[in-house]
Subunit: 335 residues, 2 copies
């Protein structure tokens, strides 16, 4: 059987089962006072070390699969390569710390382009307090960038596994603008200047929600993940991890007015499935939501609730009350 | 200018200068009591956190560049992908802890092959106490594997920058066997059964020197790195980091008797330039060497000494006293 038949998530499930069930050996971590807190399967792994909880994540982009040089100039690619990892740390309520950068590059790559890439990484590193402290560089017929990032927080991270039936589901900002920006560029569409600029900027320079993640966690939110593959699919993954389902209300999904202006017919589809928003999706009982949302500098929008039902199923309820299943298992990168 | 013109090490030097000189921002690490101890440019990065020194490294292999499925079956590829990272932790005198595994894979990859790959990773993980606790999986036209690994130790790591003129240079085991195994397979050469088996095993299942690294560091050795690109080139990198040169004596370079048997004419070349040995190269004053070598379970061989001269230059002295410069700047993966 090939990966394209089993699917990415089927393979990940098999490999995660292997590493957690067949893991043996001396366990160096516990011998040194480290205690594994979050194993494979969440936004980051986590362990306790002394007074701190340490976080550890990695994310990779491949040219032609996740980006093209046309839609993502080198400095923006640098920014985004770190942003996607910072966003995973944010989803655990952590502060990002140290990064290792791996570059796979064809020998004919321009040195000036790689310096531009690093300039973008340094810009977002400066903004979020992340230091690049090493990495690896290898020759490769296709360009790819892998970032591994550590983070820190006190106490238990927010996780995907802790949703409860009846909890409300919310997002920390407008979804779909990044996907709208990509669609504008890929299809060479015209848009009013202000809308075009907002959407392209959302795609090229996403702002991970580190401060929001810390506020949410301090306010007692236990369940969160970042929105990277689209609200519908990411909510589906969160539900799957918690063994539950969810319902979202189309009218409550927050799409930016400029996204609606540029895509009056497609904005809801982009808001649900666009990807690369790097906001936080979080889940909490109603009373917690009522307290935490006003405490967020830019607020958040309740978009639905957690329900029983097939694990991972997300149902969209339209303004007229019609229901449609919008996601079951997350986006398959190999499909 | 393209990377192939500037060379890998020229580019790494430029990027390292960018990240260390242009790094700004809030520095989350120090705000949380972390103190950066070893910045980019050594076998691993390192920081102090509470009572522990934490280590952080990453290493990548690309199909067709670093391995082929013919010479490295999937389980061995899994073993080696972790081994090269464990070896970097060993070179700092640390104990490896937690790994993230990133796979870039074509959709037509067989699921059973990836399960074999993970089986090899779990085998070496079990042996060395490393737990795989997450990662990433992406579609890619070319297969690649990136491992990011953390480690831990007490106190200051061994580094590349601390060699002194007059220090002795030693290695913890036989060099060149891995390169000999690869040469046998690539060229389809015949070798006596025992030799063939030793050399292929050395190539496919290297054993990083974690215990040796800890013993060396405890015994007061300050300077080490792992031998991954070949003794000559790795010694050259160590010398460059310390701003010094070195001299090695061909007759003292430890080649395994079975390597000599299989390659009576090429064994010294393989021992100097073979790569993927994953032993430790270490440097210390004579009296320290005299104390530490007998304390190592398998001993070590003194192969030369640190000298003044052009930074990074390694000179080979033959049995008859002839001198030849064998390395200046490390292996260029893009050349």
């Amino acid at each position: 059987m090939q990966i394209r038949d089993l699917g990415e998530f089927g393979l990940i499930e098999r490999l995660n089962a292997m590493v957690t069930q067949q893991r043996r050996g001396p366990d160096n971590g516990s011998a040194h006072g480290f205690k594994l807190l979050v194993d494979t399967g969440d936004d980051t792994a986590a362990w306790v070390s002394g007074a701190a909880t340490e976080l550890f994540t990695t994310d990779t982009v491949v040219e032609g699969v996740h980006f093209t040089r046309e839609t993502t100039p080198w400095p923006d690619l640098g920014w985004k390569s770190l942003a996607s990892n910072i966003s995973d740390i944010a989803a655990m309520g952590g502060l990002p710390l140290y990064a290792l950068v791996t570059l796979g590059l064809p020998p004919e790559t321009e040195v000036a382009d790689i310096e531009s890439l690093y300039r973008g990484m340094l810009e977002i590193g400066e903004k979020y307090g992340v230091a690049i402290i090493g990495g690896d560089m290898v020759r490769s017929p296709v360009a790819f960038i892998t970032v591994a990032l550590t983070g820190v927080r006190q106490g238990n991270p927010m996780q995907r596994t802790t949703a409860q039936v009846g909890d409300k589901v919310a997002v920390t900002g407008y979804v779909g603008s990044s996907g709208g920006g990509l669609k504008l560029m890929l299809e060479g569409l015209a848009a009013p200047a202000e809308a075009g600029s907002h959407l392209r900027e959302a795609h090229r320079r996403p702002l991970p929600a580190v401060a929001e993640g810390q506020l949410l966690s301090q306010a007692g939110v236990l369940t969160a993940m970042d929105v990277s593959d689209g609200l519908a699919d990411d909510l589906s993954k969160l539900c799957l991890a918690s063994g539950l389902a969810a319902r979202i209300y189309g009218e409550q999904v927050p799409a930016h007015p400029l996204l609606k202006q540029a895509f009056p017919n497609d904005y809801l589809d982009l808001a649900l499935n666009g990807g690369e928003d790097y906001l936080l999706l979080f889940v909490a009982p109603g009373p917690v939501m009522n307290e935490v949302i006003p405490a967020l500098p830019e607020g958040a929008a309740v978009v639905g609730e957690i329900t029983g039902g097939p694990a991972g199923q997300v149902t969209l309820v339209s303004a007229s009350g019609e229901e449609a299943i919008v996601s079951r298992s997350g986006w398959d990168h190999f499909g």
